[in-house]
């Protein structure tokens, strides 16, 4: 059995990020995607969850420009093509230019504030 199979889901998720990848789970019983990672399938209750690396392509489901005292930045919900949704932010474009329906690509970047890798997205078209 691989170490990943016995590690807690949040630990495996972080190991994927540490290696520059976005991990998610597929349920062996109902074949639906599961995100965030957990020990059972919330769709069918199955316990046989298989880790997969996301291809990192998706579509913006919704978006907001967050305004704080000295900064504005994007927060978005992205639907990955594998059939799961995650919170993220779209970078490399002004936050107000992020649009619902926009195609985006995964980038695992270093978050300087948190000193850890973070899964963000960039616009798919230049």
């Amino acid at each position: 059995m691989s170490p990943a199979a016995t590690s807690p889901p949040a630990t495996v998720f972080r190991e994927f990020l540490d290696s520059g990848r976005l991990g998610f789970q597929i349920c062996a019983s109902c074949e639906q995607s599961v995100f965030y990672p957990r020990v059972l399938c919330p769709h069918c209750g199955g316990q046989d969850l298989r880790w997969r690396e996301s291809a990192g392509t998706g579509t913006v489901y919704s978006t907001t420009t967050v305004c704080r005292r000295n900064e504005t930045y994007n927060v978005a919900l992205v639907d990955l093509d594998e059939g799961f949704r995650m919170m993220t932010r779209v970078e490399d474009t002004p936050p107000e230019d992020v649009r619902i329906g926009m195609r985006v690509l995964l980038q695992v970047r270093h978050d300087p504030d948190r000193s850890e890798p973070v899964a963000v997205f960039v616009p798919a078209e230049a």
Partner: protein
């Protein structure tokens, strides 16, 4: 009108504590004490007759223990279900079930908060998630902002229509001497106020005030012998589908689509029978979503429905007649104030903002980030 529901529980006392900005040194329990005393006096009952206690708090993880100790009561039935600001409408549902089952006879539902005096911002539980925290959404407004953005995208809802919700709430607040925000407000003012999380501005967002409230519930039989005409609980229901906004399946459709029809079915009536509507308006998008999800208009038509003063005083439907969380009072978990205003409307006590002849009120609580949805249908004493 007469409804089909068995008359099992009734609201017999309601009260607020001091509201607005109570100043330094006052604790949430002090406000609970004020509100509980006033609501029991309204009902003509004493604290020693309370055997069921219901409360929720962000200050006290074991809310009922602090509350009962402070009030000097020893409940034999205790429920501090916390599903956010909707909790108190859930407590009403739970209290009615407990009374019906004979587990308690006099239920006290209470809440108190000092968010304005203590910090000036909403206090949240401090829970964390590695799947959202790195992106630093402003909690909870960014979640509601993304629901608003999605609703605008799918249904063509406009910035102006969102603003109409805040303007209508303000016009109701002008008629409520207890409302916190009573200065003039226009659609342009809402749109041009400080952006918080686009498309929502500061004026699309609920107030941050202090405040407490209390509601006394007892059996219909006991209610007949008390000093106030009883407000009947005709039906109530609750539903929750998610906690975090990234787990909400469809940001334009809440679990009110489930709690609403179940509450109406128990009451044996429908949206067209409702005279006054109290919706948890944490943000302007809430009112639009809940009017749709509860069946007052079709999905996607909430924007036009709230426009041109249709939910303002003198409009087609009386919505949030106290001024709502947007203009009357919002101490963090607003749900109990919906019940208080509905009871007063059904008792005909609302003065300038009274809906003439109101017989049926709908109360709808929301908690978390559109997460928990709780609906109650209330009837005036005349419906008994």
């Amino acid at each position: 009108m007469t409804t089909k529901t068995a008359n099992t529980a009734a609201i017999v006392g309601v009260a607020e504590s001091d509201l607005g900005e109570v100043g330094p040194g006052v604790t949430p329990l002090d406000l609970i004490g004020q509100a509980a005393t006033a609501a029991l006096a309204d009902a003509g009952l004493t604290k020693d007759e309370v055997d069921g206690l219901f409360s929720a708090s962000v200050y006290y993880p074991m809310a009922n223990l602090n509350t009962a100790e402070y009030l000097g009561i020893q409940p034999t039935y205790s429920d501090s279900t916390n599903m956010g600001g909707s909790s108190f409408v859930a407590h009403l549902n739970h209290a009615a079930a407990a009374i019906e089952a004979g587990r308690c006879e006099v239920a006290l539902i209470v809440y108190g908060s000092i968010q304005r005096s203590a910090s000036g911002r909403l206090v949240s539980s401090g829970e964390s998630t590695p799947y959202e925290d790195p992106y630093r959404p402003r909690y909870p407004v960014s979640a509601y902002a993304m629901a608003a953005a999605r609703h605008m995208h799918e249904y063509g809802t406009t910035r102006e229509q969102l603003a109409e919700v805040a303007v209508a709430a303000r016009q109701w607040a002008w008629l409520n001497p207890k409302a916190f925000a009573r200065d003039p407000l226009t659609v342009d003012d809402v749109i041009n106020s400080r952006m918080v999380s686009s498309p929502l501005t500061a004026r699309d967002s609920c107030l941050v005030t202090d405040g407490g409230g209390a509601v006394v519930v007892t059996s219909a039989e006991r209610a007949r012998h008390l000093r106030r005409p009883p407000v009947r609980l005709l039906g109530a229901a609750e539903a929750h589908w998610h906690r975090s906004i990234s787990a909400m399946p469809d940001l334009t459709r809440t679990a009110a689509t489930e709690s609403g029809p179940r509450a109406f079915a128990r009451a044996g009536i429908g949206p067209s029978d409702v005279d006054v509507v109290l919706l948890y308006d944490a943000f302007t998008i809430n009112t639009i979503l809940f009017l749709e999800d509860l069946g007052f208009c079709a999905k996607g038509e909430g924007g036009p429905f709230v426009s041109d003063g249709r939910i303002a005083p003198g409009g087609k439907l009386a919505v949030n007649t106290n001024g709502g969380g947007l203009s009357y009072c919002h101490p963090g978990m607003y749900g109990i104030f919906l019940i208080i205003e509905a009871a007063r409307q059904l008792r005909g006590e609302c003065g300038d903002r009274q809906t003439p002849g109101a017989d049926i009120a709908l109360v709808h609580g929301n908690g978390g980030v559109l997460s928990s949805q709780t609906t109650a249908v209330l009837g005036s004493p005349a419906t008994g």
